[in-house]
Structures are given as structure tokens and as C-alpha cells.
Point group: C2
């Protein structure tokens, strides 16, 4: 007999304040105000077509896992494999559209004050990642932060897409070897992203403290987020 699997949304494997502390009611945040995303946590917000959001690397050394979904249809989202295919490049730069799994831009990367080193290759960290790195017990992680930040505004992700890892520095050598390095961004560096459709953006301050991707001190920090007026 053929067996048919049923589909169910992924669930977080643990919990932190990301699950309850939304930036604003229903993910609508006050424009012109810089909001903080606390270290090790994630937040979701609604960005209407044409609105511009800034993500600020307040401390300079912090990686932000970034996802973007179509508001009203969570099955359309920013997709790293479609982004690379559309750009014909590993990683986006100023002026590039951030391409969804339906092969259209969800947002445009208007401006990037940093040296432009971001990652599209590495999966969001999750509980299993920390276990494999030797951690015992629950560890905050970007996959759970995504799920919790969405649930805090009443949404569910149908899957965990590969994130755009802002400021994550994963050099690729000739031959394809990858390494996990500290960011080259500076305090106050920012990206400006314009929504091309009504979108749900999610940012997780990566809680990795077992590898130097959040700086040589391996101390996860906060990020800033602002909707321009």
C-alpha cells in the first residue's frame, strides 16, 4: 500500500521571549523608531509594499538570520536557491532583488553600508546543530527564533527556508571549501530593504557562541530594526 505523509508546520524545540514579545501588535511597528532585537532572540514585522526597513548591526559583529514571506501566503518566501539562480551570484549586493521561490523579488536591497559580506549557503542553526557542537540542553537557535517570532504575531511557517545570513562571513575557497569566520562589518553598519510586495520580515540575532561567526569573542549581541517614515 502506498503511504502518504501528511504535512505539518515545524514546531520550535524550546522557547525564549521571541514567542511572546512582538515588536508591535500584529507585527505592525511604529515607523521612524529604532527597535532593538535582543541578543539570541528573533522578531517579525509587517512591511507594506514600498516601505523601507533598515536592519542595523549596532555592535558590528552580529549575524542576523533574515527571512521574508509574502503577507497573506506564507508558502511564498525568500529562497536562497532561487536568489542565487536569479542573480547568477552567491550573494546579493546593492540594487539586487531578493528573489522568492516564485522567482520574483519580495524586497530590493537598496543600500548596504557594510563591506557586503553576507551568506546564502549555511542553514539556520537549530537544536541539533548545538548538540553536534557539544552543547548539552536547550540552546537558543535561529530556526526556533523564526518559528517563535512568527507565532508571536499569529503566523506559522510551512517550512524553515534557508535564511539570508546578513553579515555572516563564510569564505569559499577555490575547490569549494568553506570556513566560519568573524564578520567584517562595523558598528552601525546597516542594510536598507524596500518591500516589493506586502511582506513579513523575520530577523533572528544568531545565538551562536561556540564558533566565532558573531565575532572573535563569540558573544551574541542585539541588532536594530527600523521602518523608515
Amino acid at each position: 500500500m502506498p503511504r502518504t505523509s501528511t504535512t505539518s508546520s515545524p514546531q520550535p524545540s524550546g522557547r525564549n521571549p521571541s514567542a511572546s514579545e512582538a515588536l508591535g501588535p500584529d507585527g505592525r511597528i511604529e515607523p521612524g523608531k529604532l527597535h532593538e532585537i535582543p541578543a539570541r532572540q528573533g522578531r517579525a514585522l509587517r512591511v507594506a509594499t514600498g516601505q523601507i526597513m533598515q536592519i542595523v548591526n549596532t555592535h558590528g559583529s552580529q549575524v542576523g538570520d533574515f527571512w521574508c514571506f509574502a503577507d497573506g501566503d506564507m508558502t511564498e518566501f525568500l529562497s536562497m536557491e532561487h536568489l542565487r539562480t536569479g542573480l547568477r551570484r552567491l550573494s546579493p549586493g546593492q540594487g539586487d532583488g531578493l528573489i522568492s521561490n516564485r522567482r520574483r523579488p519580495i524586497m530590493t536591497l537598496l543600500e548596504d553600508s557594510s563591506p557586503g559580506v553576507h551568506d546564502t549557503l549555511v542553514a539556520a542553526c537549530d537544536s541539533r546543530r548545538y548538540t553536534q557542537l557539544g552543547h548539552e540542553g536547550y540552546h537558543d537557535n535561529c530556526a526556533d527564533n523564526l518559528l517563535m517570532a512568527l507565532s508571536a504575531i499569529g503566523l506559522r511557517a510551512p517550512e524553515i527556508p534557508a535564511p539570508l545570513n546578513l553579515w555572516m562571513n563564510i569564505p569559499v575557497e577555490e575547490g569549494g571549501a568553506m570556513s566560519w569566520q568573524a564578520p567584517v562589518s562595523r558598528p552601525g553598519d546597516f542594510v536598507r530593504l524596500k518591500a516589493e510586495i506586502d511582506a513579513i520580515a523575520v530577523i533572528s540575532c544568531c545565538p551562536m557562541d561556540l564558533l566565532p561567526i558573531n565575532g572573535e569573542d563569540a558573544r551574541p549581541k542585539s541588532l536594530g530594526i527600523m521602518l523608515e517614515t
Copy 2:
């Protein structure tokens, strides 16, 4: 009011014989026999723990989009972003585990007779890809072949994972620029894959005929598939 999206399995946007012509009942195929996957189509098969499957590049120039799911739980599958993270390399070589989204090997790449050029970066082609490349009307595509090949054995994919694009030659230059080149494999080249868990394997003979990824003549061809005895 928060809106909650419901989750639904992706559906093919068109149809070819992949939807009805399974390689064997319930995806169980006769070991020791070389089966053909016709050009432009996809097929699914069950591979039990410890079994070894061969995928043969009969004509040498054909790309095979490859997926692998856990038999009994389609929400676990070979994941390119988890594979790269686990390997610390863009692409797998002989002896490497093919890592799932639960960060464990679903299969091991036992042997690769080809020069080892495979791609993990590019999304499966789909209807929108061909429309963007100028094609009018329905075009066979790997995403639909995946969905149809699974449906032919009574299964559904909860999402369309990024495929392991066997023999697809996408050089990455310093700086990250990618290009779409003809395969460097030769007629009869094969990979041998050992199942580490009970698995559902799916292979699509990529029907791309608008770019030279299936050879300079851009003529999609068949692939061979065999379960070793």
C-alpha cells in the same frame, strides 16, 4: 487580526508520464536491473537501509536532479544547506554523507566515477524558470517531475527542497559569480549511493533545453538507475 496561513503540499503546474509510470509497484524496483529514466521525466524508488543504488549518466551530458526523503516521514529530506554546513564544502565527494534537514546522513556517496562536478546551489527548474527564459506554454521541469514521480507511488512532498544537481556544472568564480556550463562527465559515468536509512530517492532528467547545462547541444537525454543486488 492575526492571519494564519494553512499549509498545503505543492502541486505540479502541468503533466508528463512521470505522474503515472512508476519504475515498480509502490516504488520497489527489481535489483540488478538497469532501469531507464526517460529524457525530461522523473522517477521515484524505495531504497532500504544498506541498499546501494547507482545513477548512471548513460550519455554523459545529462544533469540529474536528485532528492532523497526519509521513508515514512517526508518532512525529513536531503537538504543542500544542511549538507554544505555539515561538509564545510559546497559539494559532496566520495565517502561523504548526504545530510538531511535533521543533520544526519540519509545516504552516503560511496563512489563517483565522474570528475566529481555536481551542484548544490541552483534551484530545481520550474514553469516560471522557463517562462522567464522566453518559453511559451508548459515546459517539462524538474520541480513538477519531483511531485509527479512521488505521486506515481502514492506520496506527496511537503515542499520542494533544493536538489543535489548531479553532474550540473556551475563554476563559482572568486567574488561569487556563477555560470551555467556543460557537464564534464563522460558517457557511463555513475555515482553509487548507499542508503543509511530507509529512503525514497527521486531523480529527474533535467529537461533544460534553453541553456547548455545538458551539453552544448542542449538536448535533454535519459539516465539509468539500478539497485545493486
